[in-house]
């Protein structure tokens, strides 16, 4: 690690940003949209005021939680695409716990238990995919995807069936919870210190577990070379299951926050696609714990900034996904080209 490597890193980032800006401009021109105005809307819509920034943080929290979870599975060499369903099941479990607890005098306790239930829900769902992989040999991508479809069906069924609002079921979701059950937040700032603390803690704990404990070592051993890990006396399937449990728990916590801190009820699109987005976050962060929250913040800015595109420029908000995706592709491509040329130079 020297100045040369650092400079190469900066050059890589600059090159990928350049590619992304060029590509996005091209897409905008094809759509007949003014590129400069669009970029301005994205920046102002995310960092322009405190209320915008607090919204960014509300996106950042679940995104960071899910990304931390994915670091465990990626280290173990697993493509946990089921993270989306794990977020949803965390939300479902939290909703269930809050409905059972109700607005009692001990509302704070109910909320805390509901968050734990969310983690358990996500972890259990991840366990399903883990067992399908280790016991039945179904690749985790297909097991996870199938379970994503199932959890989406379950969420819809709950909203239109057993948990429908009194009167009429609707796409707007279940009944809003009593205010005492919400995650406490500072109203003037529209920010929940407790949730923010949870996300920061998740990053620190993940970093610690992955770098300084046996678990981290085992995960890297299995992810690096499954056969060699067996020779060292490790049980790859047990390690993989542990990775899935960690990932599912953190994804479930993200879903729990969506329910208790953002929407205060269960809605059909409760996961907001943050599971899939977290996969992109971790890819762009090159599986680095400390880079993941930074990338997550950048992605959260794009998501928040794009909300106003339909209103101000009558453009679809899916532009954020186009930028995020091209960012990851460009970064991966630039990185692999530069490592190749460095290797060939010696």
């Amino acid at each position: 690690m020297g100045l040369k490597t650092a400079l190469a890193g900066v050059a890589e980032i600059a090159a990928s940003v350049l590619v992304v800006v060029a590509f996005t401009t091209l897409v905008l021109l094809v759509a007949g949209a003014p590129p400069l105005d669009t970029f301005a809307v994205l920046v102002k819509g995310s960092l322009g005021s405190w209320s915008k920034l607090s919204h960014v943080i509300k996106v950042w929290i679940p995104l960071t939680l899910a990304s931390c979870g994915l670091l465990f599975t990626f280290k173990a060499g697993l493509w946990n695409i089921g993270v989306e369903g794990q977020v949803m099941m965390g939300a479902v479990a939290t909703t269930l716990a809050m409905r059972m607890g109700g607005p009692s005098p001990l509302a704070g306790m109910v909320t805390a238990l509901a968050l734990v239930a969310g983690m358990a829900g996500g972890a259990l769902w991840a366990l399903c995919a883990g067992f399908l992989k280790t016991k039945a040999g179904v690749h985790e991508i297909f097991a996870g995807l199938g379970l994503n479809f199932v959890s989406q069906g379950l969420v819809l069924w709950l909203i239109f069936g057993p948990w429908k609002q009194p009167g009429i079921a609707s796409m707007s979701g279940t009944e809003t919870f009593d205010e005492r059950l919400w995650i406490p937040s500072i109203e003037a700032l529209n920010l929940s210190p407790a949730a923010l603390g949870m996300a920061v803690a998740a990053v620190i704990v993940t970093a610690y577990l992955l770098s300084s404990t046996r678990l981290g070592l085992y995960l890297r051993a299995v992810g690096g070379n499954e056969k060699a890990a067996v020779l060292f006396g490790l049980k790859p399937h047990a390690v993989m299951t542990a990775a899935m449990l960690c990932a599912g728990g953190l994804a479930g916590l993200a879903g729990a926050f969506q329910v208790s801190g953002v929407y205060h009820r269960l809605i059909p699109a409760i996961s907001s696609g943050y599971g899939y987005l977290a996969l992109l976050v971790v890819l762009l962060a090159y599986y680095n714990v400390w880079a993941a929250p930074v990338v997550a913040f950048f992605f959260a800015c794009l998501n928040t900034g794009a909300i106003q595109l339909p209103m101000l420029l009558s453009l679809d908000s899916s532009l954020s996904g186009v930028i995020q995706g091209s960012m990851v592709i460009a970064a991966l491509a630039v990185h692999s080209v530069s490592t190749r040329s460095r290797r060939s130079r010696g």
């Binding site: 479809f149 069924w157 592709i329």
Partner: protein, 328 residues
């Protein structure tokens, strides 16, 4: 044949028609994976090519132009996969997954102004003489042109893979790149060619959705999710075009039946039937993997009936699937 408004012939005909896009996508991905490349971008590619086909066909008024553009879009996305994974040696799964999300968002971004507009539909075109046949006429020969095309493609893919020297070369690269190289075949070139060709078929499947089976364009698009099903079907079909196509027909059958089940069991919520085919698909994947295990083989030794079953379901992926060739 009638039972509670349930007509066997109508169901069979609906299955053949409904499976068309899935058959095309599954065949395309089978070709690609036979060359050793996993193109995971299917789901987004189908949405993007469905949008492109719909927009081009409604602006130009030509269905043919719509289908041509969709094939070009699919080929372009696949070319990106080939460039990044075969040429640059990047992870095929990572590239494919990012592209699947990005192409879907790109489709919704570029296509938003055309959502829910009127567009052309590839109408019914019964085959003369053949459509007059009893039973078979209605089931097989009373469809639109893309449906016939998909049926011809299945036969063609089988013939190409197993009866031509080009097909032999393709399978050889998928099984053992070094051996293929030693025989004077350029493995990278073969991989790029079949990734792009497979991508074109996947693109056509998008057009088959938006111009034929699920006509129209909107958000969310009805074909979202089918790319993932096609990917699972390739495994279920054990990388054999005919078996993969049969899987597509099976899936279409489950979807058609879910509509009927809904009317037969009104107490069970509709969402259950809508998502039921997906876990069923996983279950079938699990079964087709399990029969390959040692225990299953030992059991099969003793029971002749089981032996036939395991042989029918056993699968073995192309050996170099997902791997990049080292150039050192």
């Amino acid at each position: 044949m009638m039972m509670d408004g349930f007509d066997m012939l109508l169901v069979a005909s609906a299955v053949i028609a409904g499976a068309t896009p899935l058959v095309m996508a599954t065949l395309g991905e089978t070709l690609t994976e036979r060359a050793g490349v996993v193109n995971l971008s299917l789901d987004g590619t189908i949405v993007l090519s469905a949008m492109a086909a719909f927009v081009v066909a409604s602006l130009s008024g030509s269905l043919l132009a719509g289908f041509a553009v969709s094939a070009a879009v699919g080929a372009c996305v696949a070319a990106l996969v080939a460039l990044f994974s075969v040429r640059l040696g990047m992870s095929q799964v990572a590239v494919g997954f990012v592209l699947t999300l990005m192409t879907r968002d790109l489709a919704y971004f570029l296509g938003s102004q055309y959502a829910r507009t009127e567009g052309p539909i590839s109408g019914s075109a019964p085959v003369p003489v053949l459509s007059g046949m009893p039973v078979l006429g209605q089931v097989l020969f009373n469809h639109s042109v893309p449906v016939y095309l998909s049926m011809i493609m299945v036969a063609f893919a089988w013939w190409y893979l197993y009866r031509t020297s080009w097909g032999l070369r393709l399978r050889c690269v998928g099984e053992n790149m070094e051996a293929a190289y030693a025989r004077g075949i350029d493995p990278d070139l073969v991989r790029v060619v079949y990734t792009v060709a497979g991508g074109a078929l996947v693109g056509l499947s998008g057009a088959a959705f938006s111009l034929c089976t699920k006509p129209g364009w909107g958000q969310p698009q009805g074909c979202e999710g089918s790319g993932w099903i096609a990917l699972a079907l390739v495994i279920f079909g054990a990388w054999h075009p005919v078996r993969a196509a049969l899987g597509a027909y099976l899936f279409a059958f489950l979807q058609v039946m879910s509509i009927h089940f809904q009317s037969w069991f009104p107490d069970v919520p509709a969402q259950v039937f809508q998502v039921a085919p997906f876990p069923l698909m996983i279950f079938l994947l699990a079964v087709s993997t399990l029969v390959h295990s040692e225990e299953a083989k030992m059991l099969a030794e003793r029971h002749p009936l089981l032996r036939i079953l395991t042989r029918g379901l056993a699968q073995a992926p192309p050996l170099s699937l997902g791997k990049a060739r080292s150039r050192d």
